[in-house]
């Protein structure tokens, strides 16, 4: 019955026609509203999508759906299939190019899952304003003879020093995720990469490391916050591997209104303090790490 409320029935009919044509593609705002449901693609990752039905992104999306006046649905995915579930096409990267192939069912309308804003992803997706900061760190088991870097004059110095630590050791990575070594120029530089392929679950990086799958591992800050607590005393952060990153919500390229609506919503909750509440709820201490990012929000 929502569509009865829409301004102008005719527009609505036109939109409906459009929707019918683009049945296989992701929907934009009108479609979502017409459908009456927002499907949120989430990957079980840190506290963004905890897997128990809540999470930082889950709550944001729930709020967004509520704001739109539609129902909310969480659709689980993983880092290998997440884009395919949104766009209905598989992603392959090669030689700096990203190609979409295939034809798959579209399972959701939006990706919000602590999704890193990466250049290659930007070429095929529409990102919202940053929802969360991140960074990738180099971690090692606590007993490792490697010592964490001393804070350098700049981040670049820190990154360089950290990279030097790797040397010829084995490094546990996870492709297609924010821990993809390709993102950070770690491929083809003589680093002994150990690709974790058992799953696309970033939670499993630390256990694997501790298991001895590799001497070192990459870990993102959100995970690190949680894992430093979970595996207190067993792992240590050696230093940064990447510059600070941005996490944001991803939309299909053809859902700009949806994206805009989301941005509006995001600004709203940042102003109201709901956003801060969610940050503190799911990532206590993250502010300490990214003071600048969160300073903006205050």
């Amino acid at each position: 019955m929502f569509w009865k409320r829409l301004p102008g029935r005719r527009l609505g009919v036109a939109l409906a026609a459009m929707l019918a044509c683009t049945a296989v593609s992701a929907a934009d705002l009108a479609d979502i509203k017409a459908k009456g449901e927002l499907r949120h693609i989430g990957i079980r990752y840190a506290n963004f999508v905890t897997g128990t039905g809540d999470g930082f992104d889950v709550e944001i999306m729930q709020g967004f759906a509520n704001k739109l006046g539609v129902s909310y649905k969480l659709v689980y995915s993983d880092f290998y299939n997440v884009i395919r579930d949104l766009l209905g096409k598989d992603v392959s990267r090669g030689n700096g190019e990203v190609t979409l192939t295939g034809d798959f069912p579209v399972k959701g309308d939006v990706i919000s899952t602590g999704f890193t804003l990466l250049p290659w992803r930007e070429s095929i997706l529409l990102f919202s304003e940053p929802t969360f900061p991140s960074q990738v760190l180099l971690i090692a088991p606590a007993e490792s003879d490697l010592q964490p870097i001393k804070d350098g004059a700049s981040l670049a110095d820190d990154i360089r020093e950290t990279r030097q630590l790797i040397g010829a050791r084995s490094l546990l990575v996870m492709e297609r995720t924010c821990l993809d070594p390709a993102n950070y120029g770690l491929t083809g530089v003589g680093v002994d990469l150990k690709k974790y392929t058992k799953s696309a679950n970033l939670n499993e990086m630390v256990p694997a490391l501790l298991n001895g799958d590799a001497q070192l591992a990459l870990l993102d800050v959100p995970d690190a916050i949680l894992d430093l607590r979970k595996w207190a005393g067993q792992i240590k952060v050696l230093g940064p591997i990447s510059e600070p990153q941005t996490l944001a919500t991803a939309f299909p390229k053809d859902a700009p209104e949806l994206r805009d609506a989301f941005n509006a919503y995001l600004r709203e909750i940042k102003a109201s303090g709901d956003y801060d509440r969610l940050v503190d709820k799911y990532y206590p201490g993250i502010r300490l790490y990214f003071p600048q990012f969160f300073a903006k929000t205050h």
């Binding site: 760190l137 804070d151 820190d158 690190a224 607590r229 207190a232 005393g233 952060v237 502010r287």
Partner: protein
């Protein structure tokens, strides 16, 4: 058996006052004690209540403090901080890794700060986590003002900042056995306000003090009485309600203080209360003591009163006893007591068959002393005699006074069964007494020599009659008297017969006086200076049916002891008057006078004069022929009375003669006053008139006296011519004596009269023959 309860009842009745007072006092004491005890209990309860309330308060605060300490300790020992140090030790920098731990710490702190509330108010004003160097790593809320917060905190501790009104709770962070830092919580002191609210209706002043005495609560302006709170109050001994001394706390005089320390912090709950607030008005120990004392005093008073009563009763009894059994003048036991003692002694002696003795002691001439010096002196003498006698006997023996001048000494036990030895011992005592009495007495300056006559009789077991014993002793005493006074005589068994004989004699006399011709008068001639027979002295004679003539020396005492003297006297007068009447008929005898001896007893008789007059009238005798002979002893007492009687009789012609003149104590003044006609020189002077110059002088003097006073003089007992010649030289006397004739019965006397011619110095023989025949 029934007497025991009766005795008990009697005892009870005797001491009723004491018992009543005792019960009263006891109940008072019990009541007072109960009152005091319940007061003490009340006080104790009040104390307990106060202490309990204070303890509850301090416990509440202590619990709060303890929980805070636990909170902080928990935070300090929490996982988040431990992780932090673990990560730090791993070398992670804050930027890359430690931030997460810090974030976690901050999260837990925030949780605690939000969640921990007391009555909806946040407890913690600030929580800070410091590292070892005192650099705050995580800080939430307010921090403690001092610069050096975490220096060497090795244990959780509490600090109170009274000025800023903050409580700082600190706990060390110990990681791997090392102190790596500390967690500090800041709590506002005012948070304790709800805990300090009192729900009691009655609340003594209550303060929360720190150890320096600073008042943390109440925060309102303190009442004037609490301005002196200081360190001393904060350091009072805890847990006891203490009175505050005026010296140390002048403003708090009269107040009690109770300090309850708060466990775990340098705090104390101090409660101040005045005595009245605490206990109300009640019984002070002083009042209770006074009440108790009062009842004790009351009891003591009753005791004293009872004692007084008893003593008075006892004294009264003793007095009666004394009166009953003791002589008032001398204090010696009296007859009653003596008889009792004699009985006791007899009973005792009956067992041992020992001898005891009773000594009757009579004071010689006591009556004379009484008559001459008066009864006061007599009593004084008796008292002194008593003392002297007591001094002469042993303690076991008794001195008693029977009355008058008679004393008795009871020698209860002479300690022997041998009568001779008993006699010796008794005599020894008697001699001791006599020797003691050889000393004169001092009667208020008057030297008096007192001698005794002592009669001793033995207590005989065979004859326990006390009457007989007393009689025997009495007789022995009389014997001693008769033996010349100042001597001791033992009762002779012969005397026993004398008692009976005496009694018999008395009876006989009484009988014979009723009969005619048993009592006769013998007449001894009296001759004048010319030798003419002028009259006779009538001498009474008793013709006993069995014994014949009883000598007057014997029967006069009998008459006296039988109380017949008066009747005898009257009888004698009668016979003499009758004789006079008969002689009046014969001219040969009509001129004769008869001199009749009149005893003092007769003279004392009220109606003596009337009696004589009556006899004269009845017999028809001529009063002028009647001469009454008086002895000096008659005249000593009541001379006025005597004179009156004499005058009465003189008025009708009776003449009076003074017998035994010179032997008594009568004074010459008496002689002047008395209407005498004649004095008779005593025989004792006449007998030795030739050999004793004194006697001669006395005789002469008496003759001269008679001449001067115009009294005729008769010399008694003239037995020799020489005596007669001697006396005749000094005056014209009359004479009486054996020289002139013995006492003769009336008939013989009349014959003598007929034959008698006036005596001449030469014609002696005829009269001598006549006399010899008549005698």
């Amino acid at each position: 058996m029934s007497s025991a309860p009766r005795d008990l009842f009697r005892q009870f009745a005797n001491h009723w006052l004491l018992i009543a007072a005792g019960i009263f006092s006891l109940s008072m004491v019990v009541m007072t004690y109960n009152l005091y005890a319940s007061h003490v209990e009340l006080r104790d309860n009040a104390d307990a209540r106060l202490i309990a309330a204070s303890d509850a308060r301090s416990a509440a605060i202590g619990d709060f403090i303890r929980e805070r300490r636990q909170d902080v300790a928990r935070l300090a020992g929490g996982e988040a901080i431990a992780d932090y140090f673990g990560n730090r030790d791993l070398g992670m920098s804050v930027k890359y890794g430690l931030f997460a731990s810090l974030a976690a710490i901050e999260h837990t702190f925030k949780e605690v700060m939000d969640k921990d509330r007391l009555q909806d108010q946040r407890i913690y004003e600030g929580l800070t986590f410091f590292d070892r160097d005192g650099v705050p790593q995580v800080k939430l809320g307010a921090a403690a003002p001092q610069a050096n917060p975490a220096a060497e905190v090795s244990e959780p501790d509490i600090a109170i900042d009274a000025r800023r009104r903050l409580i700082m709770v600190r706990a060390p962070v110990i990681y791997k056995d090392e102190v790596r830092g500390a967690v500090e919580a800041v709590i506002g002191l005012d948070l304790l306000a709800p805990l300090m609210v009192s729900k009691e209706l009655w609340r003594p002043r209550e303060f929360l003090l720190d150890n320096d005495g600073a008042v943390l609560f109440p925060t309102e302006p303190k009442p004037a009485s609490a301005t002196a709170l200081d360190r001393e109050l904060a350091s009072l001994p805890a847990g006891r309600i203490l009175p505050l001394s005026a010296a140390e706390f002048p403003e708090l005089k009269g107040y009690f203080a109770l300090r309850a320390p708060v466990k775990g912090a340098d705090l104390s709950i101090l409660r101040l209360a005045s005595e009245e607030e605490l206990y109300g008005r009640g019984l002070s120990p002083l009042t209770a003591f006074c009440m108790g004392l009062f009842s004790v005093l009351l009891f003591a008073l009753a005791l004293g009163f009872d004692l007084m009563r008893k003593t008075a009763a006892r004294l009264h009894e003793e007095k009666i006893h004394g009166l009953a059994f003791y002589d008032q003048i001398t204090g010696l036991p009296n007859r009653c007591l003596l008889i009792e003692r004699i009985r006791e002694a007899q009973a005792a002696n009956a067992r041992h068959k020992a001898f005891g003795a009773l000594m009757f002691i009579d004071l010689d001439n006591f009556k004379t002393l009484n008559d001459t010096l008066g009864h006061d002196m007599g009593d004084l003498l008796l008292t002194q005699v008593a003392e002297r006698l007591k001094g002469c006997v042993d303690r076991g023996d008794m001195v008693a006074r029977l009355g008058g001048d008679e004393f008795v000494v009871l020698l209860g036990d002479l300690g022997t069964r041998n009568v001779k030895i008993a006699a010796m011992r008794a005599e020894a005592v008697g001699e001791r007494i006599l020797r003691a009495f050889s000393l004169d007495y001092d009667l208020k300056g008057y030297d008096y020599s007192c001698t005794l006559s002592i009669g001793v009789a033995f207590l005989e077991p065979e004859n326990p009659s006390i009457d007989d014993l007393l009689k025997r002793a009495d007789l022995a005493m009389y014997d001693a008297k008769a033996g010349g006074r100042n001597g001791l005589r033992f009762f002779d068994p012969f005397m026993q017969t004398m008692i009976s004989a005496k009694a018999a004699l008395e009876a006989d006399l009484r009988e014979d006086m009723k009969k005619a011709d048993r009592i006769l008068l013998y007449y001894q001639p009296q001759v004048d200076h010319q030798g003419k027979l002028v009259g006779a002295e009538a001498l009474v004679r008793w013709v006993h049916p069995q014994r014949g003539m009883v000598p007057p020396a014997e029967f006069i005492p009998v008459a006296e002891s039988a109380g017949l003297i008066l009747s005898l006297g009257a009888l004698v007068l009668e016979i003499a008057c009758r004789q006079l009447a008969r002689w009046a008929e014969d001219p040969a005898t009509a001129h004769l006078t008869i001199a009749v001896n009149v005893s003092a007893i007769q003279m004392r008789h009220k109606n003596f004069a009337e009696q004589v007059i009556r006899i004269l009238e009845e017999t028809g005798a001529n009063p002028h022929r009647l001469k009454l002979e008086l002895t000096e002893s008659t005249l000593i007492k009541n001379i006025g009375d005597v004179i009156a009687k004499m005058e009465k009789l003189k008025a009708i012609g009776v003449s009076f003669s003074l017998d035994d003149f010179g032997t008594g104590f009568s004074s010459l003044a008496y002689l002047k006053r008395l209407p005498l006609d004649q004095i008779k020189i005593d025989i004792s002077f006449v007998q030795d008139v030739l050999v004793d110059a004194n006697d001669a002088a006395i005789a002469q003097t008496i003759i001269a006296l008679g001449h001067i006073l115009d009294l005729s003089v008769v010399a008694e007992g003239v037995e020799t011519e020489e005596q007669y010649d001697f006396l005749a030289r000094y005056g014209q006397l009359s004479y009486q004596g054996y020289l002139f004739g013995r006492p003769l019965p009336a008939a013989d006397f009349e014959r003598l009269v007929a034959a008698f011619s006036p005596r001449r110095r030469t014609s002696r023989t005829i009269q001598g023959a006549v006399i010899a025949r008549a005698g």
